[in-house]
């Protein structure tokens, strides 16, 4: 019995250590966002701001076009998520239900596409998009995001399809429903929660994305939130910490909210393919 209590104490201590490690940077970000410039300049920063203020938020909106950038991010992320899921769902269905060269090729592409460094992806895409006059355009960015979101969308969706019993489809076929009919009125409704979760995951991934946006968007009224956030950091790495923290905190909120909603589905969806062997 004694060893058991000892184990428990050890477990809770370890859990506490993890909690601290995971939480403290985020808490510090929030704390910094609400501090006055005088406190930020003090040599002994504290966890709780002595005179909490919203000035940093006001200043952040004054310094950079945050609202406009958020709108650009919203367009890019929502557009990419929508298109990706609409075109990925049918292919994921085929990948889950049929075996053959096509399924093998698609699975192979999902794996191989993960190994390529983005720089090798973006240089040719940059040249292609330049010819199409889609550099510095949100449409070009959405195209890139769609292709970039496809591997994990296919992966997750195929997992969700496998969870739908094939017997249901057979029953519908016996009842005389055609293929398209079966898909639309039997499979799709059952798949809806998975489709929504995948779309939201694609949304967050695109909302958070930085590299493609940095390369493809040149003028500041086109740029998305992560790119605009880096403008708070000056050339010499000197930054006005308060507004920087405030803007970073605001930019994170949508991702956190969406993630909280889909957390369970995401973890389930990513692993159904991997675990159920």
């Amino acid at each position: 019995m004694r060893t058991r209590t000892g184990t428990r104490v050890g477990q809770y201590t370890a859990l506490l250590a993890y909690l601290v490690f995971l939480a403290f940077p985020f808490l510090w970000l929030i704390s910094t966002a609400f501090k006055s410039p005088r406190e930020l300049g003090s040599l002994h920063p504290t966890w709780i701001p002595e005179h909490p203020t919203l000035d940093n938020f006001r200043q952040a909106f004054d310094e950079q076009p945050l609202l406009h950038a958020a709108f650009n991010s919203l367009l890019a992320a929502a557009g990419a998520a929508l298109v990706a899921v609409v075109i990925a769902t049918p292919l994921a269905y085929v990948m889950a239900r049929q075996r053959g060269p096509l399924t093998r090729a698609a699975t192979g592409w999902v794996v191989v596409s993960q190994a390529f460094p983005l720089v090798l992806v973006i240089i040719p895409l940059f040249l292609v998009l330049k010819n199409l006059r889609l550099i510095d355009s949100l449409v070009g960015l959405i195209l890139v995001y769609v292709v970039w979101a496809l591997p994990f969308s296919l992966w997750m969706l195929a997992g969700y399809v496998r969870a739908v019993p094939a017997e249901l489809e057979e029953a519908a076929a016996v009842d005389g429903a055609g293929r398209l009919r079966t898909l639309v009125s039997v499979v799709a409704p059952l798949l809806m929660p998975g489709i929504v979760a995948t779309a939201l995951f694609a949304f967050v991934t695109a909302w958070n994305e930085f590299f493609f946006a940095l390369v493809l968007l040149k003028t500041s009224d086109k740029q998305t939130l992560p790119v605009v956030l880096t403008h708070f950091i000056g050339a010499e790495g000197v930054a006005d910490l308060g507004p920087l923290a405030a803007a970073a905190f605001l930019a994170t909120l949508p991702s956190l909210v969406v993630f909280a909603v889909i957390q369970r589905r995401i973890t389930g969806g990513m692993l159904t393919g991997a675990v159920k062997n």
């Binding site: 970000l29 049918p90 239900r97 096509l102 895409l125 292609v128 930085f210 992560p226």
Partner: protein, 302 residues
């Protein structure tokens, strides 16, 4: 995860042909915007393609790779990339495994840990970078303040120090990548047969033995897959370090992706940067092959 083969349900209707209308909407963009560009990118590595030049691009064979061979700056960056990738992936896995084992226990506050463990995953990488800049800040940062409070000296400028910059960014990499690994491992743990655990406990097997003989064999496929993916993702990582140090001080944290990015989009050397990309793919393939072969063989005699 993608590396674990999944035996999907075989088609319910044998002999049926693939319905092209289901496949084409995704296949076309994949071919035009992914497979095509990837091949085009590999070809570019054998040309002198540059941005904003009027003269047409020439085919120059392996010249880029010859230049690359003598480019000491690139190989230094490459070495840093390997140190970073391994230095992040290994602690990431060990810490995530520990956390997953804890979360699999019947502990109070587990919900809080689960919720918190997701936060780094949900955050934009740029924000993660900004956040840790605030932590590492020499004056207003919490790290130096804590060190001062503990009487461990005055602290230092972590991200600008030649010796501390790389370890400092590696810590951030570990922090940022832990959630995904934890979630994957946790799902694997919940898939291990509980009865086996109990039977082993009844037989008097200690915690370590139970882990070795029951948990680990069930967890291994997922652990392998997630570690392989982490290795790739970390080697190709960009945004975190770009925001934290932009590759400084003096190139001490210049990962290969940052190097190639600057070569391509600051100096406009598309062909040369594509060659770097090819070398990175080759390196990561070799690394993965070694890792997987080693692990798989290790599994046979275990």
């Amino acid at each position: 995860m993608a590396l674990v083969s999944n035996a999907g349900r075989p088609t319910a209707r044998p002999g049926e042909r693939t319905a092209w209308f289901l496949v084409l909407p995704a296949l076309l963009p994949i071919l035009v915007l992914s497979v095509g560009p990837l091949l085009y990118g590999i070809l570019l590595a054998f040309t002198d393609a540059q941005s904003g030049r009027t003269r047409s691009t020439q085919w120059i064979g392996g010249l880029n790779f010859q230049d690359l061979l003598h480019d000491t700056l690139f190989w230094e960056s490459f070495r840093i990339g390997l140190v970073w990738a391994v230095g992040v992936t290994v602690p990431q896995f060990l810490l995530a495994l520990g956390l997953a084992l804890l979360l699999n226990q019947d502990l109070r506050m587990r919900w809080l840990a689960r919720a918190l463990a997701i936060v780094p995953w949900a955050m934009p990488e740029v924000v993660v970078g900004i956040m840790w800049r605030l932590v590492y800040n020499p004056d207003a940062g919490v790290l130096n303040e804590t060190l001062r409070d503990l009487g461990l000296g005055d602290g230092r400028d972590w991200l600008s120090g030649l010796g501390t910059a790389l370890p400092a960014v590696i810590v951030v990499g570990v922090w940022a990548g832990m959630p995904q690994t934890t979630v994957a491992l946790l799902a694997g743990l919940q898939n291990t047969p509980r009865e086996l655990h109990e039977a082993a406990a009844v037989d008097g097997a200690g915690a370590w033995r139970r882990f070795r003989t029951v948990t680990w064999p069930a967890l291994r496929p997922i652990a392998l897959a997630i570690t392989a993916l982490n290795l790739i993702w970390n080697f190709n990582s960009f945004a975190l370090v770009y925001v934290l140090t932009s590759g400084g001080p003096g190139g001490r944290t210049r990962l290969p992706m940052l190097f190639a990015y600057e070569e391509a989009f600051r100096y406009g050397q598309f062909g040369y940067a594509a060659a770097m990309g090819c070398v990175m793919v080759a390196a990561i393939s070799v690394l993965l092959a070694l890792f997987l072969v080693g692990r798989l063989r290790g599994g046979d005699d275990a």
